[in-house]
């Protein structure tokens, strides 16, 4: 038996390469690429019901969507939700990492405290926080009553419900992002900080001029992940609010679920999914063509 060349373009190597790839390619095509394309195709048809087959209606679903106030509410909620989750969780993650990276007493335990929410199921998290938010009996109202403040129906009022949901998500995600910052901080040579100190830079200046810029690639990575999650995470809504009150916490994917699987209007749900795909594609394009080039300092 002779050894045949590898890693080059022999015919046998090519066949082996494709055969190795085949099983994964089939499943990827079936459950990622095909559905992405089929979403667009099916959004142009009515939903088949009983003995009425699907009928081509062109852009009708999209026209309905533009006139659908719940769609606009969901989109607006989702943008507020994204902004409300992303910025605080990145700021918190960075702060946590700086603390855990410094000589702080009990930092092992502290890291554990920050990271633990990451391993809990979102459904479990939602159950616990639901209890926190309960009017009168929940922890929030009990603390408020100590100061003589009135009870608040945190999840039952459209003014506070989205904010309450955002707080839960920040709690769940910040510790996860922290470990990426922690890894990045370990890579920064201490001499840089010391040099800045010799130059007379204050701690604040050192953070903003030295540490923060060096953390930029990590911030980008976390930003992309946090953005995708903001459009993907809806589990807690099922337990905490069911999108209510009065759609105040309906996010895009949750609305897609409702239209597709509660009202069984899968044609319209496909049109709504297209909006979500468009948003995610925009994030991907931003990542590849713009941000990726701007963040590398070294």
């Amino acid at each position: 038996m002779t050894a045949h060349p590898l890693g080059n373009s022999g015919r046998l190597a090519a066949i082996h390469g494709w055969l190795l790839l085949l099983p994964a390619a089939v499943l990827l095509a079936a459950f990622t690429h095909y559905p992405a394309v089929a979403t667009f195709w099916h959004s142009l048809f009515t939903t088949p019901r009983g003995n009425r087959p699907a009928r081509f209606i062109g852009a009708d679903h999209y026209r309905d969507m533009l006139a659908d106030p719940i769609f606009w509410t969901a989109l607006q909620n989702n943008l507020i939700f994204a902004a409300g989750v992303i910025l605080p969780s990145i700021a918190l993650a960075m702060t946590m990492a700086l603390w855990v990276n410094s000589r702080i007493p009990g930092r092992g335990l502290l890291r554990l405290a920050y990271f633990t929410p990451t391993v809990l199921p979102m459904i479990a998290v939602a159950n616990i926080w639901l209890f926190f938010y309960t009017p009168d009996y929940g922890l929030f109202d009990q603390v408020r009553s100590l100061f003589g403040l009135p009870t608040v129906n945190w999840l039952g009022s459209s003014d506070t419900a989205l904010g309450a949901v955002i707080v839960v998500t920040v709690w769940k995600e910040a510790g996860f992002f922290m470990i990426f910052y922690l890894a990045a901080l370990q890579q920064i040579p201490p001499e840089l900080g010391e040099a800045a100190q010799l130059e007379g830079a204050s701690r604040w200046q050192r953070f903003w001029r030295v540490t923060f810029p060096l953390l930029m690639p990590t911030t980008l990575f976390v930003l992309i992940n946090a953005t995708i999650n903001a459009f993907r995470l809806v589990d807690h809504l099922f337990v905490m609010t069911r999108g209510g009150p009065d759609n105040a916490t309906t996010l895009l994917l949750y609305y897609i679920y409702e239209v597709g699987f509660k009202f069984w209007d899968q044609g319209y749900a496909a049109a709504l999914t297209m909006v979500l795909l468009l948003l995610l594609a925009t994030v991907a394009l931003l990542k590849f063509f713009w941000l990726e080039r701007k963040v590398h300092y070294q």
């Binding site: 790839l21 990622t32 089929a38 405290a113 890894a183 994030v283 991907a284």
Partner: protein
């Protein structure tokens, strides 16, 4: 892998020994203030979990008031187990997680080897197509995937829950990075010894990528143990429901708002992962880190 391995190593070093210089820590007052702030946040972060543990292990009369002498009880866990088939849900989740992981490891290994060491027409385009899944995950394609699974007649089965996740772009990418760092000479030597393509993969690449497999397995298991939306959509019965959906159904039906029992059920559902995490903390953090660096 070199970069990520180095990062993980340095993380471990930092866990074992104090960091060289904390940029925030100079000056005694400064350090004290930072310590207080860090621990305040830490306690705040732990509160929900501690509260849940308190509620679950005490009679429901103590759910909303603290009393250091409140009697401990396992009654809430008994009640939760009586009220819903949690052992069955655990079994379903275990089968689901194992099926997904097995599929991901086999398919990911094969595909990663192809991308790392073979050159064939269309390879780069195929790789770009794989990477699309990092942005557009099956989680957001539930409407069309339901249609497909329905057509296949697989609704309300465990394979239906697993299929969309079996080919994971993330796993393929991670293993490809690892395989690329393995010296070509090892492969050539194995070929000379008479190994075929799969033999080389099994004898050379798989053993050398063990740390990556471990990291990936931990991330995959914790992700799919906690997954909810797709299982909710595709299952209808106790025989298939995973623990997350089971918990949501249990808490959703009117329990007369007995928080103690719901919290006990919540801890049951999170328990296995939480205990595993507390026992193997370092491996968990390291795995998430290794898996996260792309």
């Amino acid at each position: 892998m070199s970069e990520s391995a180095e990062l993980s190593r340095s993380l471990v070093r930092s866990i074992v020994s104090p960091a060289p210089t904390g940029m925030l820590a100079d000056g005694r007052i400064d350090r004290t203030l930072n310590t207080i702030a860090a621990w305040t946040l830490g306690l705040l972060w732990l509160t929900p979990l501690l509260y849940a543990v308190w509620t679950a292990f005490h009679p429901s009369a103590y759910s909303t008031r603290f009393d250091a002498f409140a009697p401990l009880t396992l009654e809430n866990f008994h009640a939760a187990l009586e009220a819903a088939p949690f052992p069955r849900y655990f079994l379903n989740t275990s089968i689901l997680v194992a099926t997904i992981l097995a599929g991901q490891l086999v398919l990911g290994t094969l595909a990663a080897y192809a991308f790392a060491r073979f050159s064939f027409p269309g390879r780069d385009i195929a790789f770009a197509l794989v990477l699309i899944q990092l942005m557009i995950m099956p989680d957001v394609l539930v409407v069309e995937n339901y249609r497909s699974i329905h057509t296949l007649g697989l609704v309300d089965t465990i394979p239906a829950m697993a299929l969309p996740y079996m080919a994971s772009a993330f796993g393929i990418f991670l293993l490809r990075q690892t395989f690329k760092t393995i010296p070509n000479e090892l492969e050539e030597a194995a070929r000379i010894e008479g190994c075929g393509t799969l033999g080389v993969l099994w004898r050379v690449y798989v053993p050398l990528a063990k740390p990556t497999y471990l990291a990936y397995a931990l991330v995959s298991v914790s992700h799919h143990w906690n997954n909810f939306l797709w299982p909710l959509i595709i299952t209808n019965t106790v025989e298939t429901r995973p623990i997350t959906v089971g918990l949501a159904v249990f808490a959703g039906t009117d329990q007369g708002i007995d928080w103690a029992i719901i919290t006990a059920a919540t801890l049951l559902a999170s328990g296995p992962l939480l205990v595993a995490f507390l026992l193997f903390q370092r491996q968990f953090v390291q795995s998430f880190l290794r898996a996260g660096i792309r």
